[in-house]
C-alpha cells in the first residue's frame, strides 16, 4: 500500500515537475484576412480567410523544439493541413546550432526571413518564385521546404554566417515534400554563406547559395517527366531597417535530364523597396522570370514558367505590434495577356 502511494506521489510530482519544466512552451497564431479582386479573362472578387498558422516553440537547456501547422486552402475552398515545420534543434556551441526535421531551407533571403508570416512581410505575399500562387494552386520553384538535417555555423570573428542543409530534396512535383519517403536515394545539398553588416552597415545582408539535387521521375499520366539533375545558384542582398526595406534576389536553375544532355534553364529574380513614413510604408516590387524553354518539371507541377514580369505596388500600415493592414495592386505581364490583381489584407500575429 505504501509502495502504491509512493508511486502515485512520485507520478504526481513528475507531472507537476513536467508542467514546471514546460512552463515556457508558447503557442502563437498567424494568419491573414483578405479582400481580393483579380481580372484576367473575367473579373472576380472574394473575401478570403484562407490560412491559419499555429506555431509552437519550446526550449529545454540546449534543445529547441519548433512545430508549425498551417491550415490553408490551395486554389479551392477546402482546407488542408500541412506541417510546415517540425524541427528539433541542438545548440552544440555558441557558434554551432544543429537541427533536424522538416525545415525551411537556408536558401535566399525570403525563405527563412519571414517563414510563413505575412504579418512580417512588407508586401502582401511572397515573391511568386518562393510560394507560387495559392490561388492557382501551384507552388514556387525555389526549394524553400525540406526534410533533413541542418547546421548553422556563425563565425565568432567577423560577421560571416554559413548554413548547410542535407535534405531528401525535391519530390516528383513542386508541391511534394518528401516527409516520409524520398523519391530517390540521392540527397539534396544546400549551402549558404552570408555577410551580416554591423555598425553603419547594420541591417545589411549579402549572401549566396549553391543547391544540388536529383529530381525523381514522375510516371503519372499527363504530368510525366524524366528524372533530372538540378543545380541552383542564387544570390541575395537585403538592407532592412525600421525605416528602409530593400531586398533583391536572383536564382538560376539548371535541370539536366537523366540519360540525355537536354538542359532546361530558368532565371528568376525580384527586387522590392519601401520607405517608412511613421507607421506607413509605401513599397514596390518587380519580379522577372525567364526560361530557356518550358521546363517539364516546373510545368507539370502547374508552374507557368513562360517569360513574364509582375509589377506590384502598395502600402503597409503597422496598426499595432500584432496587426498590419496592407493594400496592394499588381500587374502580371506575360507574352499572351496581362493579369491584374488588387488585395486588401489584414495580417495578424498573436
Amino acid at each position: 500500500m505504501i509502495h502504491a502511494r509512493a508511486v502515485m506521489f512520485a507520478t504526481g510530482l513528475a507531472l507537476v515537475s513536467d508542467q514546471v519544466a514546460r512552463a515556457d512552451a508558447t503557442i502563437n497564431f498567424f494568419g491573414d484576412l483578405d479582400y481580393h479582386v483579380v481580372k484576367q479573362d473575367t473579373t472576380n472578387n472574394s473575401f478570403q480567410a484562407s490560412s491559419l498558422d499555429i506555431y509552437a516553440m519550446d526550449t529545454e537547456r540546449n534543445f529547441t523544439f519548433i512545430g508549425e501547422l498551417i491550415a490553408q486552402t490551395l486554389g479551392g475552398n477546402d482546407f488542408g493541413v500541412d506541417a510546415d515545420r517540425l524541427e528539433v534543434g541542438y545548440k552544440a556551441a555558441p557558434w554551432l546550432h544543429l537541427s533536424a526535421g522538416r525545415i525551411r531551407t537556408s536558401i535566399g533571403y525570403y525563405a527563412d526571413a519571414y517563414q510563413t508570416g505575412k504579418f512580417f512581410m512588407t508586401p502582401v505575399s511572397w515573391p511568386e518564385m518562393y510560394e507560387g500562387s495559392p490561388l492557382d494552386g501551384f507552388d514556387g520553384i525555389v526549394p524553400a521546404h525540406g526534410v533533413g538535417v541542418h547546421a548553422d555555423v556563425a563565425r565568432e570573428l567577423g560577421n560571416d554566417n554559413g548554413k548547410f542543409d542535407l535534405l531528401n530534396g525535391r519530390g516528383v512535383d513542386l508541391g511534394e515534400i518528401a516527409a516520409f519517403q524520398d523519391g530517390n536515394n540521392g540527397k539534396a545539398i544546400n549551402f549558404r554563406l552570408r555577410y551580416h553588416g554591423e555598425g553603419d552597415l547594420e541591417g545589411l545582408i549579402v549572401g549566396g547559395n549553391v543547391y544540388v539535387d536529383d529530381i525523381p521521375a514522375d510516371a503519372t499520366t499527363g504530368v510525366e517527366h524524366v528524372a533530372m539533375h538540378e543545380l541552383v545558384l542564387g544570390g541575395h542582398a537585403a538592407y532592412v531597417t525600421p525605416m528602409v526595406h530593400a531586398v533583391a534576389e536572383l536564382f538560376w536553375f539548371r535541370h539536366r535530364e537523366h540519360g540525355t544532355e537536354v538542359l532546361h534553364t530558368t532565371l528568376a529574380g525580384f527586387g522590392e523597396a519601401g520607405y517608412a513614413f511613421g507607421d506607413f510604408m509605401p513599397y514596390a516590387r518587380v519580379e522577372v522570370l525567364q526560361a530557356s524553354d518550358m521546363d517539364p518539371y516546373f510545368t507539370t507541377s502547374g508552374f507557368l514558367n513562360g517569360d513574364h514580369q509582375i509589377t506590384s505596388a502598395g502600402v503597409k500600415y503597422a496598426a499595432s505590434a500584432s496587426v498590419a493592414l496592407k493594400l496592394q495592386a499588381s500587374v502580371d505581364h506575360n507574352t499572351t495577356q496581362n493579369g491584374y490583381e488588387a488585395i486588401t489584407q489584414a495580417a495578424f500575429a498573436f
Binding site: A23, D24, T26, N28, F30, Y55, M57, T59, T64, I66, R85, E87, G89, K91, P94, D112, A113, Y114, Q115, G117, F119, F120, P242, D279, A318, S320, A321, S322, A349
Partner: protein
C-alpha cells in the same frame, strides 16, 4: 505668484520627472554579468547576443506596447516605436532564432520572471530595483 501657475508648474515638474524616470537592467546573480556597455545592451535586446558568458541562453522580459519599460527601451536604445521593436522580437521568435521572451508589464512581475529562469534579463524602474531579492542584481551600464 498665482496658485494655478504654481500647481501647473508642479504638474509639469512631476511629468518631467516621470519621463526621466530611469530603468535599470536586472539579471540573476548566477548569470554573472558584471557590466554592460550601451552597445552590449543593444546586442542583447536585438538578439545579436544570444548567450551569456556563463553559457546560459539570453531570455528577455518584454511587455505590451503600453508598458513603461518598453516605451522607454525602444526609443532609447533603438530609436524606434514600441510596436516596431516588439514586431522585430516576434519575427525573430517565429524564425526560430530567438528564445520566446517572457512577458511582464510591471516591476513585480518582471522580477518574478527574472527569478524564474537562468539567463533572463529585464528592465525595472530605479525605484523597483531598490529592494531586490538576494538572487537578483542590477547590471551596471556605461
Amino acid at each position: 505668484m498665482p496658485r494655478g501657475l504654481i500647481t501647473a508648474g508642479l504638474v509639469v515638474a512631476m511629468l518631467a520627472r516621470s519621463a526621466d524616470a530611469g530603468f535599470v537592467l536586472v539579471t540573476r546573480v548566477d548569470t554573472k554579468v558584471a557590466k554592460l556597455s550601451k552597445d552590449a545592451i543593444k546586442a542583447v535586446f536585438s538578439n545579436r547576443t544570444k548567450t551569456w558568458s556563463n553559457g546560459d541562453t539570453v531570455v528577455l522580459v518584454v511587455g505590451s506596447e503600453d508598458s513603461p519599460a518598453m516605451q522607454w527601451l525602444a526609443p532609447t536604445f533603438f530609436n524606434v516605436s514600441t510596436k516596431t521593436y516588439l514586431t522585430k522580437v516576434k519575427q525573430d521568435v517565429f524564425k526560430g532564432d530567438m528564445r520566446h521572451p517572457l512577458f511582464a508589464d510591471d516591476d513585480a512581475t518582471t522580477l518574478k520572471r527574472i527569478e524564474s529562469t537562468a539567463g533572463v534579463v529585464g528592465w525595472v524602474t530605479e525605484a523597483g530595483a531598490k529592494k531586490l531579492p538576494r538572487d537578483l542584481a542590477v547590471v551596471p551600464s556605461d
